[in-house]
Symmetry: C2
Subunit: 253 residues, 2 copies
């Protein structure tokens, strides 16, 4: 038996990287039906206010509190959308909601919960650059809030060994100024200096900046928390005479 | 100087996994402006015919011919959309178009070319399952049309060593019945038998089937070319009493 009051539901929605033109119709429909929006301040501010809609803004780094609050409201019969930037399953709120669901009261587990995917930053950035993720690739969160740096370094090393294209999320913040520089040092110790690095900041917003440099010219200060960094595989190349970077589909043995 | 006739352009667009509700407004707008749609038969058939729009359907495995044709038409002043399922930069048409652009005449490089991202299969599948990609993850194309099996096997081995969640695209076809079975054997040799495997078929279409099994019960015939397979990291778990699978955000050292 469900622990939810009649009509309550929880949707965990991805708003995409910034532009309205990248919000899926399914997410727009959920936002239009919601009674409550929950999320980190800048993401909640992307939702237009309207009568009957309550906006619950919260600070960064309180993901579990936020998730619990959203679950409680849904259980009380509210129609709740938890908003994330990009895709909610990629270094965002979906995992936090399921952690809170598992840790919470059992009668909450019958709740109507749906995750709605969104355009994640690495795919928006890759599209702007050309097709740098054109073959096998991985995504690594450089934030060491929730995992030790040794795990990040190990994954990065193995990703280079596998010759994946690599997307680095949350490369650098004021609280963590060091990690991304160490990541670049690690890349320099094992990759050709011509390896292509794409710094994609605030893609699809008015603040968008895209910059492609060889590894030898990459500097830590080229990234901030609004940047996703794409590291080409060893095969990534520019189309001469254009700004496009792509990874050929075929791989030599 | 551009080699394009006035007004010609080429858009490489991702249609998402199947549902109209997952097509971004930016892709819908490009389809509404196009004079020509180019792509693999089942993807072109997702575009509604209208007066003034020519649909160019082509068979599988002719990506480069298709890309050249699209570039030629754009150069002749047509407004061309190349359609892919999912995201065009993930094992789809964007890389083929840039390969064809590089191999083609130089006066074509000034063409107006844009890539529009889409919801890729692994993110749609992950959203349905919960949050199985909730931490670092990778995407590997199991098709060995364009790369030797040894490369695939090596990447899979390193991905397991890095403890990435893993998305396997194109796991199995009639032309390649063997590879996915070998991939499962490799996983069995290095992962716990309880490791969670999600078979997500035709997500967001009327044919959608989602099935989660422990590695010990995974069988090659559970996948086909419409399936994306998600392999949980060692930390992936079910929320008891629900069908949801998620990967906790934190990682032990």
């Amino acid at each position: 038996m469900s622990g939810a009051m009649q009509g309550g539901w929880l949707v965990i929605a991805g708003l995409g990287p910034g532009s309205e033109a990248l919000v899926t119709p399914e997410v727009s429909a959920a936002l239009a039906e919601a009674t409550d929006i929950v999320g980190y301040i800048p993401y909640v501010r992307r939702v237009s206010p309207r009568p009957g809609l309550t906006l619950h803004e919260s600070d960064n780094r309180v993901e579990l509190d936020r998730a619990r609050h959203a679950l409680e409201m849904a259980q009380q019969g509210r129609q709740v959308v938890v908003v994330s930037s990009g895709d909610p399953g990629v270094f965002a709120m979906a995992a936090a909601v399921f952690e809170a669901l598992e840790a919470g009261p059992e009668d909450r587990r019958g709740l109507d919960i749906r995750v709605l995917p969104g355009i994640t930053a690495m795919l928006a950035a890759a599209a702007r650059a050309g097709a740098p993720l054109g073959h096998d690739f991985c995504a690594i969160n450089l934030s060491d809030n929730l995992k030790p740096w040794s795990v990040i370094e190990r994954r990065l090393r193995l990703a280079v060994e596998a010759d994946f294209a690599i997307a680095l999320y949350n490369p650098r913040s004021q609280a963590r100024p060091e990690g991304f520089g160490r990541a670049l040092d690690l890349l320099r110790s094992s990759c050709d200096p011509e390896r292509l690095i794409i710094f994609a900041r605030a893609v699809s917003t008015p603040d968008e900046v895209l910059r492609t440099v060889p590894l030898s010219e990459a500097r830590p200060e080229m990234a901030d928390m609004r940047t996703v960094v794409l590291i080409g595989s060893s095969a990534a190349r520019r189309v001469p005479g254009t700004g496009f970077v792509y990874t050929p589909r075929g791989v030599e043995g």
